[in-house]
């Protein structure tokens, strides 16, 4: 396993930030660690890296237990946690040179990662003057510089523009497929990582609610029929009375989840009651909705 936690727990006085987390990330996979703000993602990542001490349980990274004084496994780990930071008085190149020296990476690694992250034009600018997005690129470059076997990235898309997000996604995918790098990536936006990851773990209130592999993720994309109809509230009541059990209101439309094979019947109910159907379309449930359903307790 690249990452294994057992009953990992972190408590801050009255707040249980992470509650008995058992997590297994296999070598070579891209694991998406999803959760809303405050779900316990960053706290978990801090414990994986030994930045904070667990209240209970244990962590193994690349086969070695993480405890105070651990250094050996971190030679093979690259990470970005919380906000992007750098020494403001030093240039991009100098900031990366610090990382190079501390990870014993070859001299050429700095130039390589500058090119990889498209930081060439900024290489001799001080970190103080970088935009947030470029600071994020610098932090990602720092994580990638020593060609780690495991990347632990906390919200890597923060502050990046849409093109930057796609670029980083492609980069992570290629690191995983071409170099066998394990990627553990957290996000609070499912769509941002849904098409990147091999597996996803959904955290909520310190607990791992659900783990899904790629096939299961696809299966969760539920089919529904979206109906544009006059008087949607009345229409929802009519459909419920007619035995359609899963009807949801979405703005001025209805989403009917159990309409497969019953579309003509549904249309008859509505038209028969004198309502006007303006639109009728079959659609997938967005994964985001599944995530919200899980973490908000929606039906």
């Amino acid at each position: 396993m690249a990452i294994a936690t057992r009953a990992l727990t972190k408590r801050y006085r009255d707040v249980l930030a992470v509650d008995a987390l058992d997590l297994d990330v296999r070598r070579g996979e891209i694991y998406g660690f999803l959760g809303r703000n405050g779900a316990g993602k960053t706290t978990t990542i801090r414990m994986l890296l030994g930045l904070i001490r667990p209240t209970g349980g244990q962590v193994e990274v690349l086969g070695r237990r993480v405890q105070p004084g651990t250094t050996a496994s971190f030679a093979r780990v690259g990470y970005l946690v919380e906000t992007a930071t750098a020494y403001p008085n030093l240039t991009v190149r100098e900031n990366l040179d610090i990382q190079r020296r501390l990870t014993r990476a070859p001299r050429a690694a700095v130039a390589e990662v500058i090119e990889l992250m498209r930081l060439g034009e900024l290489a001799d600018r001080r970190a103080r003057v970088l935009s947030l997005g470029n600071k994020q690129r610098l932090s990602l470059a720092r994580a990638l510089l020593h060609r780690p076997e495991l990347l632990i990235l906390d919200e890597p898309a923060n502050a990046l523009d849409p093109a930057g997000i796609v670029e980083v996604r492609e980069l992570l995918r290629s690191r995983a497929s071409e170099q066998g790098v394990t990627v553990f990536v957290s996000s609070h936006i499912l769509t941002e990582i849904a098409h990147l990851v091999d597996r996803i773990g959904i955290m909520h209130e310190g607990r791992l609610l659900e783990e899904l592999d790629r096939d299961q993720l696809r299966a969760k994309e539920r089919l529904y029929v979206e109906v544009g109809v006059s008087e949607p509230t009345h229409a929802a009541t009519l459909l419920a009375d007619a035995g359609f059990a899963h009807v949801e209101r979405a703005d001025d439309r209805l989403r009917v989840y159990d309409a497969q094979g019953r579309v003509p019947e549904m249309a008859r109910v509505l038209v028969g009651a004198g309502l006007e159907i303006t639109e009728l379309a079959q659609a997938h449930e967005d994964l985001e909705r599944h995530f919200l359903r899980l973490t908000r307790g929606a039906p």
């Binding site: 030994g50 930045l51 250094t71 919380e82 008085n89 100098e94």
Partner: protein, 260 residues
């Protein structure tokens, strides 16, 4: 690993304005003392230039090398101790203020090496600063052609200033620990000021030779009755404070939660 950590710690000072600020701050000291000496010696010309000759005369100063050296030692001992606290607060506290501490914590380099490397950087910075300021003071004193110079006096004065600077350095790891505990610049600076004030209080209670922050002021004559040699107990107290400070700083970085 220590060499790597040390090299990166020196690299972090590149283009830092704080290094120049500390040199400027401490080098103003000998200039101010030399100016006072000149005003005392030539009150008429000082008054013509609008300088406060009367006040300088009233302070009971004499424009001699012994008086000049005495003030210089006070400046290095008290002002320097505060300035060194500022240096240590910067070296250690900046990692939290700039948010970079987390980048040091999951590396193939033991965290204790960063503490030791930072303390070495502080030692080098402090030593260069003190030696430069003493050289500046000797040049200024010579330029003023103050009376009463002797080689013995100069050696004694430099010895006192260097010893005061060394003792001040031995207290610095505690300031480093406070910087890590407080995660920034302000707590260690507040701590240093509070310790100096407490040192003054202890000087009146007979505990001065036992309280670490009273020992430098006592030795240079800033508080209480000036002592000419340090009591062995004082040296033990200072040495223990140094070791305890290092141990506490390493323990803080190794065991405490280091989230920002």
């Amino acid at each position: 690993m220590f060499a790597r950590a040390l090299a990166t710690e020196f690299l972090k000072l590149r283009r830092s304005k704080v290094t120049w600020f500390t040199f400027a701050a401490l080098s103003i000291g000998p200039l101010a003392i030399a100016l006072m000496m000149w005003i005392v010696r030539e009150p008429g010309r000082a008054a013509q230039l609008g300088l406060l000759g009367t006040k300088a005369n009233l302070s009971g100063l004499t424009a001699t090398w012994p008086a000049y050296f005495s003030m210089l030692t006070l400046m290095v001992g008290i002002g320097g101790m505060l300035l060194l606290s500022f240096i240590v607060a910067y070296i250690f506290g900046r990692e939290y203020t700039e948010g970079t501490a987390k980048n040091l914590l999951a590396l193939p380099v033991g965290r204790h090496w960063f503490v030791l490397a930072k303390l070495v950087v502080a030692a080098v910075w402090w030593a260069v600063l003190v030696v430069a300021v003493l050289a500046e003071a000797l040049v200024l004193g010579a330029a003023l052609a103050l009376p009463g110079f002797s080689a013995t006096l100069a050696v004694r004065a430099v010895h006192d200033a260097l010893l005061a600077a060394a003792i001040a350095y031995l207290l610095a790891p505690v300031v480093a620990w406070i910087a890590m505990l407080g995660r920034g610049y302000l707590p260690p600076l507040g701590f240093a000021l509070a310790m100096l004030a407490l040192g003054n209080v202890f000087s009146h209670t007979g505990w001065a030779t036992w309280f670490p922050w009273s020992i430098v002021p006592l030795y240079i004559g800033a508080i209480g009755q000036r002592v000419t040699t340090l009591a062995p107990s004082s040296l033990v107290v200072v040495a223990l404070t140094f070791l305890a400070g290092i141990a506490a700083t390493i323990a803080q970085l190794r065991w405490a939660d280091n989230a920002q």
